[in-house]
Symmetry: C2
Subunit: 142 residues, 2 copies
DNA sequence: CCGTATCCATTCCGATACTG
DNA sequence: CAGTATCGGAATGGATACGG
């Protein structure tokens, strides 16, 4: 009676959910994208118990989202850094932020501080509204 | 010793996670976006036990992601339909799909069947790469 | 076919104490 | 500061049986 795993699922959404489809992982990635690196920073920001934070960080490292780099400054301990794969989650975080963000202070900005938004574009670069988008046939989803 | 809730968190990512930050909810939304409407369809597609599927559906309805509409064809039972808010999750699903989608058959397409992708654009409509995007200052995140 | 109710195993979470 | 160890309670997940 094990928990069903979607790791091998053909649907990429399911595979993603397997990795970041829980509470803490996404918030950890959010903080990492915001520049946090140290165990203590995450703990303070998230308010999670150390044991569970420890477990999540380990899992994220195992999944290739984070990596531990020796140390930037002093400490004998390493820092948690997003891998390229992990940085790819920016799109997911951004989408969640936009969705939950009506009337909030969430912001994405480019290097010059200009606001950035997520958009759907079709091949030629034409903007597409969500109502006009379809997922592939169901058979392609699983 | 209750589970901490992020529903009131100032960060929209956290609030979103509160609603769809679990396994099943996102997959249910995925299926709903793909056109599934009936209890049985979800159950078959997800392989989830009926009790937990029931609970998730109820929660998603309570959160305004799904609604129950009388019936399209025959049955005395209703169908689960995405609300406007729920359809907004397409961006999230799309992001997850793109992220987990290297070499898979996941597709988004517009009405004409042309492929659609998620992109980051700054104000003027200029494309921005993920590496060039920053989240607001940490203080804005929580 | 659409759920609800029950039972049990597992996993998760929070607090705290402890080590280096 | 950065974790590991342990513990109790809560929520989740799976199977199955039952009722509309």
């Amino acid at each position: 009676m094990k928990r069903t795993s979607f790791a091998k699922d053909r649907c990429p959404v399911a595979r993603s959910v397997e990795v970041v489809g829980d509470w803490w992982s996404l918030l950890i990635v959010r903080d990492a994208l915001a520049g946090k690196k140290r165990f203590g920073e995450f703990q303070k920001s998230l308010g999670a118990a150390k044991n569970i934070l420890s477990g999540r960080l380990r899992k994220l490292v195992a999944d290739g989202v984070l990596e531990i780099v020796p140390a930037s400054d002093d400490s004998a301990y390493g820092e948690y850094k997003l891998t390229a794969k992990g940085r790819g989650l920016l799109l997911v975080i951004a989408a969640l932020g936009q969705w939950g963000g009506a009337g909030s202070d969430f912001r994405l900005q480019d290097r010059n501080g200009k606001p950035v938004r997520l958009e759907l574009r079709s091949e030629g670069g034409r903007k597409v509204s969500p109502e006009d988008v379809r997922l592939g046939r169901s058979s392609e989803l699983r």
